[in-house]
């Protein structure tokens, strides 16, 4: 029944580039980056959406962070026997950073599942959804920086062992590193959980558990814990290094380069892992969602 047609038959050999190649994976990332007008707009939209019709809008992000940081700061300064001017800035910055990390992992698990409609109706690089997610988390982080500035004004760093210096600017490359890690982690977690729907609840509880295991609110080298062997175990937790890497410059403390080294190695490993998954399963995502 197939009729010999004039124009419709392919006239060339198939292209050599199969859909599973690193070139296609890179192409996905670069094309996604080019649509930044789209995901930047959508990232903003996500935040505005959440607070639409509320009078003070996204300011609620800042307010709720301020409330949480103050409460946790007071609680842990009592629990750990630390002076408030040390504990509160520590907790505030730790919690702001943790919000970013936890947000990237938790929402990363749903990054493709939540965008099923868009993925099935519009041909876009899958990285667009990941960029949108990290951009949204970055915007939340920037909102929370208001709390950080306020804390710094009320409890200046020199009151407890820190000092204002140029090394505080290291917080900027540290944030960039966090964003890169956010990209690769949510890409990886997103692909895996699109295939296996048990992953999102698992990441939810793992992130919750890690929050308590990572010295976000408690000070791991405080006088109380200093001589405990557990401090050494705490260092095995990679999240400690991510948090400390950015918290130290933000609080004007001495930079410990060990944290940077660990984060750099972890970044390379995670990027490699995400690259392999992007290469192998990029084209499967639209089938799996």
């Amino acid at each position: 029944m197939q009729s010999p047609s004039t124009v419709e038959q392919p006239d060339q050999a198939p292209p050599p580039a199969p859909s599973r190649s690193f070139a296609r994976a890179r192409h996905d990332l670069s094309q996604g980056w080019k649509s930044r007008q789209l995901w930047a707009h959508l990232g903003w939209q996500d935040i505005k959406q959440q607070y639409r019709r509320s009078v003070i809008g996204p300011l609620w992000i800042t307010i709720s962070m301020a409330v949480t940081a103050t409460a946790l700061g007071i609680l842990y300064s009592g629990l750990m026997g630390q002076p408030l001017e040390r504990q509160l800035p520590y907790v505030a910055v730790g919690f702001i950073v943790w919000n970013f990390i936890g947000g990237c992992v938790n929402e990363g698990a749903n990054v493709f599942i939540a965008n099923e409609g868009l993925i099935k109706h519009l041909p876009a690089p899958i990285s667009v959804h990941v960029y949108r997610l990290v951009w949204r988390q970055t915007l939340l982080f920037l909102h929370n920086l208001v709390v950080y500035v306020a804390v710094l004004l009320i409890f200046p760093p020199w009151k407890y062992g820190g000092h204002i210096s140029f090394s505080m600017l290291l917080a900027i490359p540290a944030l960039v590193l966090l964003m890169i890690n956010g990209l690769v982690v949510s890409m990886f977690v997103g692909i895996v959980s699109t295939r296996f729907r048990d992953i999102p609840p698992i990441t939810g509880s793992v992130v919750q558990m890690l929050f308590f295991m990572t010295p976000v609110a408690w000070i791991y080298d405080s006088t109380l814990l200093k001589n405990s062997p557990r401090v050494k175990y705490a260092e095995l937790n990679p999240f400690l290094h991510y948090v400390e890497m950015i918290r130290q410059p933000m609080l004007g403390q001495t930079i410990v380069w060990r944290h940077w080294a660990v984060v750099l190695v972890a970044t390379v490993l995670l990027t490699g892992l995400a690259a392999i998954f992007l290469r192998n399963y990029r084209a499967r995502v639209s089938y799996w969602v």
């Binding site: 197939q2 198939p14 041909p123 639209s286 089938y287 799996w288």
Partner: protein, 266 residues
């Protein structure tokens, strides 16, 4: 130059039920080995052995019964699905219009929706801002564009969506019959814009059950049947084979003339 090439492509969907989609089975299945028979995920073969080559200027109608694979083929041609076997290559900016509602947000204003929908279709913000007035004229929504989309009636939403879609400059335009759900009177008004859009686009693939629309917009056709290309060729011969009669034979002369002016079919 825009082009779409598909070589021996198949599209197969794995169907994960709640059990096979869980880690448990993937892990236990390997460890136990016994239940390996039912760990295999059932697959729906939606498209098989598709060979298609489209070039600039092609106006292709897609016909076939429900479930024949028209929509899946459109998604394959758009690049949303990459073939599970075989190869495909799409060169050019694709504007798929499968569902007028996708990418529309009920909570934001009509104006903002115009911008976002345009961004989704590959336009830039600046390009869309230039087109807003034109879209406002066409949709006759006026000040309503400042209201959130949820306050719109269904008809108004369709107008807005159609207004945006027909304002873009696509290199490859893929239309699914969903737009046929628009009421006839409005479609009559949208016809000119739709024709303009098709003329602006470098390449058109249009899935539809409406002979009239196909004849107006297309000059060749592909007949899909059970996931395979049953026939491809000139619109008239394919439609004749598909319908069992020549849809052109009962056309009044003036309609034929109009059609040949548009698509060059008759």
């Amino acid at each position: 130059m825009v082009s779409i090439d598909v070589w021996n492509a198949s599209v197969e969907f794995p169907i994960f039920d709640a059990k096979t989609r869980s880690l448990k089975k993937a892990v236990l299945g390997k460890a136990g080995g016994k239940i390996s028979n039912d760990t295999k995920v059932p697959v729906i073969e939606a498209l098989q052995d598709i060979n298609i080559s489209l070039r600039h200027g092609d106006r292709v109608g897609l016909v076939g019964h429900n479930g024949a694979g028209k929509s899946t083929l459109l998604r394959l041609l758009s690049g949303i699905y990459e073939p599970t076997r075989g190869n495909s290559r799409v060169v050019g900016k694709v504007a798929p219009v499968f569902d007028l509602g996708v990418g529309m947000d009920p909570e934001i204003s009509g104006y903002e929706n115009i911008i976002i929908r345009g961004l989704f279709l590959g336009m830039t913000r600046a390009q869309m801002e230039k087109r807003v007035d034109d879209i406002a004229d066409f949709t006759e929504l006026g000040n309503y564009l400042n209201m959130p989309l949820r306050t719109y009636s269904t008809g108004m939403r369709v107008r807005l969506a159609l207004g945006v879609v027909t304002s873009i400059d696509p290199e490859i335009l893929l239309l699914d019959e969903g737009i046929g759900a628009v009421d006839a009177a409005f479609l009559e008004r949208a016809r000119d814009r739709l024709n303009d859009l098709v003329r602006r686009s470098g390449l058109l693939v249009f899935a539809s059950h409406s002979d009239e629309f196909l004849m107006e917009l297309c000059n060749s056709a592909i007949w899909m049947d059970q996931g395979r290309v049953r026939m491809q060729g000139g619109l008239r011969e394919v439609l004749t084979a598909y319908k069992g009669h020549d849809p052109f034979e009962n056309m009044p002369q003036h309609v034929l003339e109009r059609l040949s002016a548009v698509g060059g079919t008759a």
